[in-house]
Symmetry: C2
Subunit: 149 residues, 2 copies
DNA sequence: GTACATCATTTGTTTATACAAGTATAAGTT
DNA sequence: AACTTATACTTGTATAAACAAATGATGTAC
């Protein structure tokens, strides 16, 4: 469905403004599919992002700064995210002995199990993305890279 | 800059997951340019969106439902957005006489002036968008339309 | 015209975001 | 060693998002 129809706007002043509206609108659209998906699994999008980062380094620990630098949403407050994940038993935190300012975060077996649960249900989540061919997905992704400069 | 480098991830499992990460990341990137821009002008992104919708119908009023349906971010609480805009003197609200459940919202001269102020500074905001050619902007926009189905 | 469903907006509550300021450790300087 | 600066994380706070429930006006069925 064209963005003009989605937001009941006849036309945009130029193609760049149309793209801006489309990006923001599409992001909301994506989020509204992601949020209930992750909620059902007892995670938020950001919490899942952190777990995936930790699994990527497992069994090595990751410190807060590295987590932040690898997160899709850079504005997340890592301290509070990790607090939540500890509550749920998905990660552990320890003071790094070589630099006591840093915190070593590790994913637990329970955290890994939760990620497998997420992975098992991923195909459902990605159904809508297959409205684009693989080639188109690559094309959009590369153009977004170009947009950011 | 490639999304892989932005979030320090070597590779993605598939092109669709890469696109998902790229969409979310790019949206955050866009927002971090938009937010300070609008903040400096005393508006939020959603408040500006409402004002632009009202200007589109001016001098006709717009009711809450129509505002919601035209907003880029559908989750916004229109009641509270309008409250803020009234505080700032940019809109007025009146009960619709033909259907007293509805609220007629109108943009004020001050609201129009604020929008002109925004428009005057828009070119700066859109500089980064010109990393894409007009053709590329159209292409991405159309592919996003296709993605949503 | 009373009862019931629907519609348009409002309010409440919980959680998350944005941003600034604070604390503790480490590293560099004189 | 004392002093400054930078680093890595924490805390506080004000605002906004998400979601459910409530209010009040209108339309519809009987």
């Amino acid at each position: 469905m064209r963005i003009e129809d989605e937001i009941h706007q006849k036309e945009f002043k130029d193609d760049y403004r149309r793209l801006l509206a489309n990006l923001l609108f599409t992001n909301n659209w994506v989020n509204q599919q992601l949020m209930p998906f992750f909620k059902e699994l007892g995670l938020t999008l950001q919490q899942h992002n952190v777990l995936a980062i930790l699994r990527g380094q497992h069994p090595e620990p990751v410190c807060f700064g590295d987590i932040q630098g690898r997160m899709v949403d850079r504005n997340s407050n890592v301290t509070r995210l990790i607090d939540k994940l500890i509550e749920k038993g998905f990660v552990t935190r320890d003071i790094c002995q070589s630099n006591r300012r840093m915190i070593e975060v590790r994913i637990t077996p329970n955290g890994l199990k939760k990620l497998q649960e997420v992975d098992a249900k991923f195909p459902v989540l990605f159904e809508s993305f297959h409205n684009l061919t693989r080639e188109e997905a690559v094309l959009v992704s590369n153009l977004l890279d170009k947009l950011r400069g």
